[in-house]
């Protein structure tokens, strides 16, 4: 039986190494309070929004849309509000960056929807960006609202008359919830207004 020790030892060491890495990279984060404490404005999904999330999962939306604004300037800018948008909606002409996704925003996501691939844009901050009818039209015929889009037309979320089914309504309710666990749109506008109200600094002489 001497040589069987080798097989047993191999199995034991393989298991021990696996546990070591798993402990530090998986179990330690599981005990990290910051990863499961909701943000100040976070609230759980309503029944309708939750149904929408289930449809989002069923249709595999998450294969082509991530839900994470990464902590990079180009992403906070791209998924923020452009000057035209802020002017149209809030009367303020400013680029308002989207905050990067925080762990506390995701605590009610089970499963998570961070995603990995962007065939379409990130949706982490899409809530409030468009009105409901835009979303309905986009689901019914993506290329009518977004020329060049590769998204399928979700005809099975509409009845024979072309009216959205209850499922489509739920999905839109979910989309409108995304990214609102931080009140960034309103707060961003408030901040810009406060900055605009400050007296402009006297121009300094010489070089800056």
């Amino acid at each position: 039986m001497k040589f069987e020790m080798k097989a047993v030892l191999l199995v034991l060491f393989v298991a021990a190494f696996m546990f070591l890495g798993t402990y530090f990279t998986m179990i330690v984060p599981l005990t990290d309070k910051a990863l499961y404490t909701p943000t100040k404005d976070a609230r759980d999904y309503t029944a309708l929004e939750l149904q929408g999330k289930e449809i989002y999962q069923r249709e595999g939306c998450w294969y082509c849309h991530t839900q994470q604004v990464r902590n990079l300037l180009e992403e906070t800018q791209r998924y923020g509000m452009g000057e035209e948008e802020t002017y149209k909606r809030f009367g303020v002409r400013a680029l308002i960056q989207a905050p990067p996704t925080e762990p506390g925003e995701c605590v009610y996501d089970k499963p998570h929807m961070l995603g990995t691939r962007r065939v379409g844009p990130d949706l982490a901050r899409v809530g409030g960006k468009y009105d409901n009818s835009w979303h309905i039209n986009h689901l019914r015929d993506p290329r009518s609202t977004s020329p060049g889009s590769l998204m399928p037309a979700y005809t099975w979320l509409f009845d024979k008359a072309g009216q959205p089914t209850q499922e489509a309504v739920a999905l839109v309710a979910y989309l409108q919830k995304l990214g609102t666990n931080i009140r960034w749109r309103e707060e961003g506008v408030e901040q810009v207004k406060r900055l605009n109200a400050l007296p402009s600094p006297a121009p300094k002489g010489g070089q800056q």
Partner: protein, 448 residues
């Protein structure tokens, strides 16, 4: 007295894996077409992109690659142990269960019944069946190894035993329905990264370690290197999951740990590669298609495992993450490297199982070259396109839709390359079918 191998389980798994391979790459091709004609097969939920994508990924991973490797393991392990497989009956039961699992997966995924986590999509019923099938496979393997004739355990057996344990732990822990939010993502990538790193990598290397010396007739280049390679993989791989969520909502220390360990993966990879190239020495030029598959697979393994650590560097990740580049990278690992190893294994093992040569060596050559060229077209178009895409995303003044439209030519090249790959696999299947149904008197195979 020579041991007589029945090889029923090996043969069954190989046939079944090839059938699922054809189905799932056709789904892959369908997806590639949808990138050019988004309304192709439109209007039907079960055929929409979001429903068939998991059928393609799970299908090629578990229906083709894992099943093919299991089939080859049923062939390799008894030979390395010098005794018959512990139980062919158990093996065939496992096969029947595997078929039920894959067919069940196709139906449930098309219906939208999914756990909605990458590579963990199968519902909990199927998860349970996979667990049972894997335990049955593990029992058969360990029992055969335990009663082996030779004291020495060849490196293929270490990798196989490791794979059985790694897969069991990853599958069960990864599927527990207890995580939420960011931790759920972290566990998802702990699983997802190691599904490649600790299931398909060691299983593929196990087979390559067997078939490279066998098909070239060269002895293994270095026993010492194989020890270093195995234990560094066992130690280093498991720490890497978080590199899939760099710049994301996970702690910075976790990201940095993942980057450090990702870069250190160059050690096991280059160790293994040195060993493979060393064993292949002198056979590069005169190699038949079996050697070509092994050589190309080794090279793609080197390249994909150079990309991986580089992707984990923050400056590179910023550009390529979430782009089409990654699709090319993933296909290099799973198609270019590990599927090539499995194909070589099938071409080597099948004639010995059936005791007659392959129906056509010429078709085998065609299979190799079409797969090779098809893959290069597929991957290079996505790498160039994905890199451009990543750079465009870095400038927020470029509208997202314009970055989508810019990918069009690359998607066209990808689709035609995919068509070549599909064509090649049909030649492969045809060759195997003709060999299986051939009525020539069994002879000892000449191909080596």
């Amino acid at each position: 007295m020579e041991t007589v191998h029945e090889d029923k389980s090996a043969r069954g798994f190989i046939y079944v894996s090839i059938v699922f391979f054809l189905i799932t790459i056709l789904i892959g091709l369908t997806m590639a077409i949808k990138f050019i004609f988004p309304d192709f097969l439109g209007g039907m939920g079960p055929l929409s992109f979001g429903r068939i994508r998991p059928i393609h990924t799970n299908g090629v991973l578990f229906g083709w690659l894992l099943a093919a490797n299991m089939g080859l393991a049923y062939y390799v392990v008894p030979r390395l142990a010098g005794r018959k497989l512990f139980s062919e009956k158990l093996g065939l039961t496992t096969l029947a269960l595997w078929v039920v699992i894959i067919l069940g997966a196709v139906v449930t995924l098309a219906a939208g019944d999914t756990q909605a986590k990458e590579y963990l999509e199968l519902n909990s019923w199927l998860d349970g069946l996979v667990t049972i099938a894997w335990v049955l496979f593990g029992i058969n393997m360990f029992a055969t190894i335990a009663k082996r004739k030779y004291e020495q355990m060849y490196v293929s057996l270490w990798y196989l035993m490791g794979t059985i344990i790694w897969t069991a732990v990853l599958w069960i822990v990864g599927n527990l329905p207890v995580y939420s939010g960011v931790n759920d993502a972290n566990v998802n990538w702990w699983f997802g990264h190691n599904a490649v790193g600790l299931i398909f990598t060691p299983m593929g290397l196990s087979m390559a370690y067997y078939f490279i010396p066998k098909s070239t007739g060269n002895p293994l280049y270095s026993h010492k290197l194989s020890i270093i390679g195995f234990w560094t993989i066992a130690f280093l791989y498991i720490w890497n999951g978080a590199h899939h969520i760099l710049f994301g909502p996970i702690p910075t220390w976790l990201q940095t740990v993942a980057i450090l360990f990702s870069v250190s993966l160059l050690i096991p990879v280059w160790t293994v590669i040195t060993n493979f190239y060393g064993t292949l020495r002198g056979k590069w030029a005169q190699g038949n298609y079996i050697v070509k598959f092994l050589l190309a697979g080794t090279t793609f393994y080197l390249l994909t495992c150079f990309q991986g650590p580089m992707h984990s560097l923050r400056s590179v990740n910023q550009i390529v993450s979430k782009t089409d580049w990654i699709i090319g990278h993933a296909h290099m690992a799973l198609f270019g490297a590990f599927s090539f190893f499995a194909m070589a294994g099938i071409y080597y093992a099948l004639p010995r199982i059936l005791k007659r040569p392959m129906y056509s060596d010429k078709l085998g050559e065609w299979h190799f070259w079409l797969s090779f060229i098809g893959f290069l077209g597929f991957a290079i178009s996505l790498w160039i396109g994905g890199f451009v895409q990543g750079l465009q995303w870095m400038d927020y003044t470029i509208a997202f839709l314009d970055t989508v439209k810019a990918m069009f030519p690359y998607y066209v090249v990808r689709m035609f390359s995919g068509l070549l790959i599909v064509l090649a696999q049909f030649l492969f299947a045809f060759n195997v079918l003709k060999t299986a149904r051939s009525t020539t008197t069994p002879v000892s195979p000449v191909t080596a």
